[in-house]
Amino acid sequence: MVVNRCLIIVLLLLWNTQAGLVSAQSVTISGYVEDAMSSERILGASVSIPALQYGTTTNQFGFFSLTTEPASIRLLVSHIGYQPILDNLVLTRDTTLIVTLAPRTVRLDDVEVIADRVSDFDKVQMSRHEIPIEQIETLPVILGETDIQKTLQLLPSVQSGVEGSSGLYVRGGRADQNLILLDGLPLYNPNHLFGFFSVFNTSAMKRVELIKGGFPARYGGRLSSVINYTMKEGNLKRFAGEGAIGVISSRLMFEGPIVRNRASFLVAGRRSYADQLWRPFQVGRKRYGAAFYDINMKANYILSPRDRIYLSGYAGEDRFSYEERPFPGANDRTRYDLGWHNRLASLRWNRRIGDRMFASTLFGVTQYRFFSATHSSESAGEGEGDFIKFDQSWHSRIVDWTTKIDFEFIPNTNHYIRFGAEGILHRFSPGSTQTRLDESGRSPINLLQTPTGWISSRQMALYAEDEMQLQEALRVTAGIRLSRYFSHDEQFGSLEPRLGVYVRVSDRTAVKASFARSKQYVHLLTGGGVTFPTDLWIPSMDRITPQRGYQVAAGIYQSYRSGLYEVSVEGYLKRMKGHIEYKIGADRFRAGFLDWPDLIEIGTGASHGAEIFIEKRRGDLTGWVGYTWAKTTRQFESLNAGLSFPDGFDRRHDVSVVMQYELSGTKKISAVWVYGSGYPVWVPTGRYVSPGGFRASTDWLFPLHLVDTGPVNTARAPDYHRLDFSMHFQKNRNWGERTFSIGVYNAYNRKNPMFVYPKKYETGDSVISFRQLSLLQLIPAISWQVSF
């Protein structure tokens, strides 16, 4: 019944589209917008006909298509950081253009800028943020490591979880509910160094987009957000590069033509060197090591004016180690290793079909692997060569094979239609253990245990959406997404309607609303609090139903002084089902070996909130102020007596102030202040004594002091706030430019709570107190960057 109804809606949309097509004689201007210096395609550029008061923006690959009546027009093309172009065109037939925009080299004052930066004010899509990479690079960050995800945390309704983490908890969602795409493929663990840094190297990134609600039908498989990272394509005209040296890592990016104006490449790498710096100072019997690296690669080839192929790759790894010897220099040793890596590779073929259609086909594979290992070797017996070596390692993996085809069809100015299909083959290996014991004089023991083996599941989806101009001031995006999931022992389906409405009340005021229903077939089996690399990705299956939910959002948007200031107020209501959570006392390390359904609880979640976002978009002083009031709860039948309780990251008030001030053409200063009311903590409310466990003595000579944990998350941790500063000094040289940056994180040295926990001291009456672990106090940073 529901399917039939949706089919009727789709048919009506198509009929309406066709009617639009034949109703008038029209011509189409289509093409690409490129950077004049590098021929890099510019996405999100505005292409408009001011006299007719309509336009479009380039898609993710710089393509645009604009249909109008034959006439002489003035076409305006603009994008942030580029000189806008206003061109006269006489349109008599379909026309293809390659528009090149020159980067701005001088500051423009507010008056000169007509349409400097594409604004979401005019778009149907709501709850969307796009922060320019250039702006991200100048914000203060921990240890001077530019981090895109940490910048996203400064936006309303985006929580970081524990302090310093790059995790994202969007509008009451969980960490696994974010669809994090790198050139169209998902990355499962976007963290370095336990989340202190994200894996995205700003030198290699062209754009990042965050969608918190009103998800377009082309995105699916996650409930809470879409974070879309697009890598740079590589300079088609000349060799160029960028390098930076920071406190804990350095990065280098190099790009250039393979065949001038036809093929190009980009390679970017980053490596931490804290392990190398520490090495000379670790002379005792204990040694620590921590290192990460990542490499981004991209190449593209223009096959014809209509065809282009892209090859993208990413590889990143984290590795931590701890080694202990009985005394310095001893041969006997025990070593612990822990690490994870992400691998990603994709091949994309873009084709322009006629002047009004664009197709993009993607094949790709993404892999995430976590490992932990113990190695020990010690001398044994009395012989000189006698030894015992013991190695045990634990691995968890997930591999996705993805194929996707997306079409964009722009029949006329009243419709922008997208449709496509997606297929993913998931392969999970949640836990395997390799054990080896090698003892002199004995046969080695080698044991591989893979209790679950590889588990495969398939996910397929079809979608269609149309952004329609129904009236001059009314635009609607209607979409539908159909998905099906085949697990090894169960099948699930989903019908996900998506709707976005835009009403332009006046030149300065707009109202938007959206509805999105989503289903998520993969789960991250994690503790309610901290997200670890040890968390397991598991598929939906018998007794583990998919996560599903819907979000309703509405907002009002106000623009002042030609978009110099924009103010938005949004409210949202979100309901989620199928949350999974470890049972109380469950050991996450056993999860790879046991039946997951026996380890978890399944529950529901609810979140609602209001966001205020005030942004100054141009001028010497830019930045924003964001405020969020939110409430997020969870409910599990076997937790908290079945009663609803605050989510672990339920933060009632959240404020962020982000400011950048351009002192001169070569000097910038930026500051960030954030405030968040305390997170809920589940702590003991009562205490008692017990004689102990099995066969405990009946007397009270050695009583155990136990706690009654009481209701879930009834207490609140102290509030969180901090102030960060940074200054950037830029100099132009013959060979390029260099930027010297200094900054400080947590400038007033606030001891913010990272974890709050009870702790017992065995002093007579066994005093139990609450402790807070504060990690990131005042941290200075320095970095030096060059680009050429």
Binding site: F320, Y688, V756
Partner: protein, 337 residues
């Protein structure tokens, strides 16, 4: 892996720890804490206490509830009201003992507390000591090693077992009042747990891993073991352990094998206590939630759970012996020489 992650995380998170005051709801309702781990070998005994708000620090003796009314009953006509004999301990005066396989219900009330109740049983246990023999041991012929075989007839459903092996050893009292093992002609003997080996995958050294039937391990040595029946559900399973006794000049090798069947409740309580100990040690970042101590006492805290034990006493030749024949714990400790 837990050890690995904990060590590495400690290195990463070696930040600043400070005491904080939390705004904890002040309306905490004190609860009755009822505890009885019963077996057919002992009379009905309970300890009854109370919980207090977390912020209060009190002596254990201040938490005793002396005026509770404890009624124990079964599904048939058995009913006994226990009497307080001091120190928060309640005992049957009728000489009643739990019967293995019978489900019991307890109700406890005291002024100022909600009435609490719980039910549990002592699961039946069918075990048999099959054989003990001396085995050849490689080059070290002077150190004798024994192999012991026994069987468990598992009942349908989820069952948990505990296994301990003891040797009778001589004890004496040192100058500081401590107890130590030392050979001597007149020292008091008592039981001392000894290590044993087993290749059985059902054996687990730690209660945390018992639910995992194929927990990867490389060490086969145990000082007490927990078993679950996941690998021998509702069948009779034979087990083999080997051990090496401690040799004394004046005390002959006498052994005792103690095999217990634990109720689900007792197993869950025992397991949660181990986790709870970690929890109060400091920030265990690898845990998903606070370690809640298991309770089956409705409206209260504590544990009401049973177990059944079979005890086998044997010497090196497999002969059965009695405690009085080897004077186990029969006199006060002698001073160490």
């Amino acid at each position: 892996m837990r050890q690995c992650l904990t060590i590495l995380l400690f290195g990463v998170f070696c930040g600043c720890e400070t005491i904080v005051e939390l705004d904890i709801p002040s309306d905490y309702q004190a609860k009755l804490v009822v505890e009885s781990q019963f077996s057919p070998d002992s009379l009905w005994t309970f300890r009854v206490g109370k919980s207090v708000p977390y912020t209060e620090t009190v002596e254990p003796s201040e938490l005793i509830v002396p005026d509770a009314r404890i009624i124990i009953s079964d599904e048939n006509h058995f009913r006994d009201t226990l009497q307080h004999i001091g120190g928060g301990i309640y005992k049957t005066l009728q000489g009643h003992r739990p019967v293995s396989g019978t489900t019991y219900n307890v109700k406890a009330s005291a002024s100022g507390f909600s009435e609490v109740q719980a039910s549990s049983w002592a699961p039946p246990l069918q075990s048999e000591l099959l054989e003990i023999e001396s085995m050849e041991v490689g080059n070290s012929s002077d150190r004798e090693r024994y192999v012991l075989r026994f069987s468990i007839a598992d009942q349908p459903g989820s069952n948990y077992y505990n296994l301990n092996l003891y040797q009778v050893m001589p004890f004496c009292e040192d100058d500081n009042g401590g107890v130590r093992i030392e050979d001597g002609p007149s020292y008091t003997t008592n039981y001392w747990p000894i290590f044993f080996d087993s290749n059985s995958p059902s054996f687990h050294a730690f209660i945390e891993t018992v639910d995992d039937p194929i927990y990867p391990r490389i060490e086969n040595e145990f000082s007490g073991a927990f078993l679950s029946d996941q690998l021998f559900e509702a069948t009779t399973q034979e087990f083999e352990i080997t051990f090496e006794p401690t040799v004394f000049e004046f005390v002959s090798p006498y052994f005792m094998l103690e095999l217990s069947a634990l109720s689900d409740d007792l197993f869950a309580f025992e397991r949660s206590l181990e986790l709870h100990d970690y929890y109060l040690f400091g920030p265990d970042l690898t845990r998903s939630s606070p370690a809640v101590v298991y309770t089956n006492v409705v409206n209260g805290l504590g544990i009401f759970a049973g177990y059944t034990s079979d005890t086998y006493r044997f010497d090196a030749k497999g002969n059965e012996w009695q405690e009085d024949s080897v004077a186990v714990g029969s006199s006060n400790l002698q001073p160490c020489q």
